[in-house]
């Protein structure tokens, strides 16, 4: 077994709000292995983005109150701000959902893409720009030398996301964190960007953490997935196994509630009843229990931990941990 590249151990990130303490990330542990694409799935507010931001130590105004993020033997949580600056953009790069707000509107695109090279490698303007142009070409920007002189607003949404990916890759980081990189894009452009990410993963061997709410996207991109609900990981495992026989009722019901393009006939959808919980006022025990079709007596009382339930899968559920199969009408 290869060594993990990144190891998140029992991470806790909280936000102090007027209404109380929000445990956005509540004891999250996982590993990222070299060269793999790991999917982190969940609805808005489940803590998937805050997990990513905490790895980069960009979680402010949130606070990391516990846990470790081990990267190449170092605990990033203990790093100073200066040490973190060495990691960000050089070792771990991140691309965001909205490429318009994450590019600076007043600098030329080529200059921005070249910034990590000037900052981390100390290259001069000319050398770094030449390298940026070649990277822009590799991510599929036509006439890159010319487009490098354009400002971000002169690019379309899909092209801006390519620019972001190019910026992330200039220093050939070991890890690329992509936080919902395609939600703001049209489907045909989404297909282009996902194809580019697959290509990047193959060509550069960059380990990718893909954060998304779209189960279709993870199905086509990721070898392993992690499902989050209310700040916790509720299920983890190889993508094919999790989709074939999910071991957490949340995953199970989510998969049954979404319409599929390849469905052969019209069947009513089976929605998950109720609402995602408020993080301020979480249900007792398992946070999913009020919406769960498989609830047993123990669920409202005790919080289940993420545990191995078969050879490949882990789930935080009293029902499947007891060996019960999830089946429904």
């Amino acid at each position: 077994m290869t060594e993990p590249l990144l190891e998140v151990k029992d991470l806790h990130t909280v936000f102090n709000t007027k209404e109380g303490v929000v445990k956005a990330v509540d004891g999250v542990s996982f590993e990222l292995y070299p060269g793999e694409t790991l999917g982190i799935v969940g609805e808005s507010g489940c803590g998937k983005s805050v997990t990513a931001l905490s790895i980069m130590r960009l979680q402010r105004p949130g606070k990391i109150v516990g846990g470790k993020v081990l990267f190449k033997g170092h605990d990033l949580v203990k790093n100073t701000e200066d040490e973190m600056r060495e990691v960000r953009g050089k070792e771990i790069a991140m691309i965001f959902q909205d490429p318009m707000t994450s590019l600076n509107p007043v600098y030329r695109t080529g200059w921005q893409v070249a910034e990590p090279l000037r900052l981390h490698h100390g290259w001069d303007g000319k050398k770094s720009l030449a390298s940026a142009v070649s990277m822009l070409t590799r991510v599929g920007i036509p006439s890159a030398a010319h487009r490098a002189r354009d400002y971000p607003h002169q690019f379309s949404g899909g092209m801006r996301q390519r620019v972001m990916i190019a910026m992330g890759l200039t220093t050939t980081p070991a890890v690329l964190i992509a936080d919902d990189p395609t939600t703001a894009l049209d489907v045909t452009i989404q297909a282009q960007i996902l194809d580019l990410l697959r290509h990047v993963n193959r060509e550069f061997g960059t380990a990718t953490m893909l954060i998304t709410h779209n189960l279709g996207v993870v199905a086509g991109m990721c070898q392993r997935i992690i499902v989050m609900y209310a700040g916790k990981i509720v299920e983890a495992g190889p993508t094919t196994d999790v989709f074939a026989h999910p071991k957490h009722p949340y995953t199970w019901s989510l998969l049954r509630s979404i319409p599929r393009l390849d469905a052969d006939r019209h069947e009513p959808l089976k929605p998950i009843e109720g609402l995602p919980p408020s993080l301020i006022d979480l249900p007792s025990g398992c946070a999913f229990h009020p919406r769960c079709a498989f609830r047993v007596d123990r669920c409202p009382r005790d919080v289940p931990q993420l545990q191995t339930v078969n050879d490949t899968q882990q789930a935080a559920c009293w029902v499947t941990q007891a060996g019960t199969e999830l089946k429904g009408a």
Partner: protein, 341 residues
């Protein structure tokens, strides 16, 4: 009595429910683009540019396309929320293209709209009762106790607790707000509702609740929907027929299953192939045709077929002539000179 020609027949005979509910012919909606200090009109956005469409009573017609293709403009113009630049709209046998005044007001009692963003489409200073009651007041449909009862009934119908009448929108979740928006749309007892991306702002686990609600209401009140969305899997689930739009034009229209099984227009083909299917086994085996480039500008749309700039099958002819929608049998039409097999 001898039969008159079909054209005059539709003009003289009263509308019956077996006729199309809405017939759109050569509809154009252009928006001026102003520029410079004097804000002179320098061109037009051809948002909807020559659309023919028929919506049948009781059906759900899905309308899909990427952002900026004109699908929302088409939906709003169909119920006269936007004035068309050209063409005609006939609703229940009556030409509503240039309808005004009292007649337009009475049209508003028969059509309604559900919006995408349940946060922006509800007035934060109105209570739920005010929001749902407003159409009732505007059209003078009920007063006093009858009005109160009607509001309570509407809330019950969309699955909200009737005791919520005095609460404000911010006290509700996204899914509940969308239910309020649906109750407001139902208040006038419309026969036709334009649903503009009604679920795309909602959490994944809430979307199915709203889709099922819309389906239930449709059969209960015999509604006709124009369902606008960019998510083809949702549209295929809810629609009887699907129209695919690209840069202001309908590219293909067909019963949903057939569109998926055998798309004829290359754009539909690439759109279908771009949609991820939540099944890793299927995804692994799928062949992807990823189309390159971005959507062209609707201010200066390409000559001939609008999709030709991104189309893998485009030939010279495609730049010279605009392909018309042609029948492929079985209620299936596509506008392409070199259709897929």
């Amino acid at each position: 009595m001898p039969e008159t020609t079909t054209a005059t027949k539709t003009l003289t005979r009263a509308w019956t429910s077996s006729d199309p509910l809405l017939t759109i012919t050569d509809l154009k909606v252009w928006f001026p683009v102003a520029s410079g200090v004097l804000q002179r009109t320098v061109g037009h956005v051809h948002a909807v540019d020559g659309v023919d469409l028929e919506i049948r009573a009781g059906e759900t017609l899905g309308l899909v396309g990427e952002s900026g293709c004109g699908k929302s403009t088409l939906g709003r113009t169909a119920i006269r929320l936007i004035a068309p630049t050209g063409g005609s709209i006939v609703f229940k046998g009556e030409d509503i293209t240039h309808m005004r005044g009292e007649k337009l007001r009475s049209l508003r009692r028969d059509v309604a709209m559900i919006f995408q963003d349940p946060y922006a489409s509800l007035d934060p200073r109105q209570t739920v009762g005010d929001i749902v009651g407003e159409p009732i007041d505007v059209h003078g449909l009920a007063k006093g106790k009858a009005r109160h009862d009607r509001i309570q009934e509407l809330l019950r119908v969309v699955g909200l607790n009737p005791r919520f009448v005095d609460r404000y929108p911010h006290e509700f979740s996204g899914g509940q707000r969308q239910r309020i928006g649906i109750a407001r749309a139902l208040a006038v007892e419309p026969s036709f509702i334009v649903c503009d991306e009604p679920i795309s702002a909602l959490d994944v686990s809430i979307q199915a609740q709203i889709i099922n609600l819309l389906e239930r209401l449709q059969s209960k009140f015999n509604l006709t929907y124009l369902f606008i969305a960019h998510d083809l899997s949702v549209v295929k689930h809810i629609s009887n027929r699907i129209a695919v739009m690209y840069l202001g034009k309908i590219m293909e229209i067909s019963p949903g299953m057939q569109l998926y099984k055998r798309p004829r227009h290359p754009y539909t083909g690439s759109l279908l192939s771009a949609i991820p299917i939540p099944d890793p086994v299927v995804e692994m085996r799928r062949e992807r045709t990823i189309i390159q480039g971005d959507v062209a500008s609707p201010v200066n749309p390409p000559s001939g077929c609008r999709f030709r700039t991104r189309c893998p099958r485009a030939k010279e002819h495609c730049a010279e002539e605009v392909p018309a929608l042609e029948s492929f049998g079985d209620d299936h039409m596509a506008a392409c000179f070199y259709p897929l097999d």
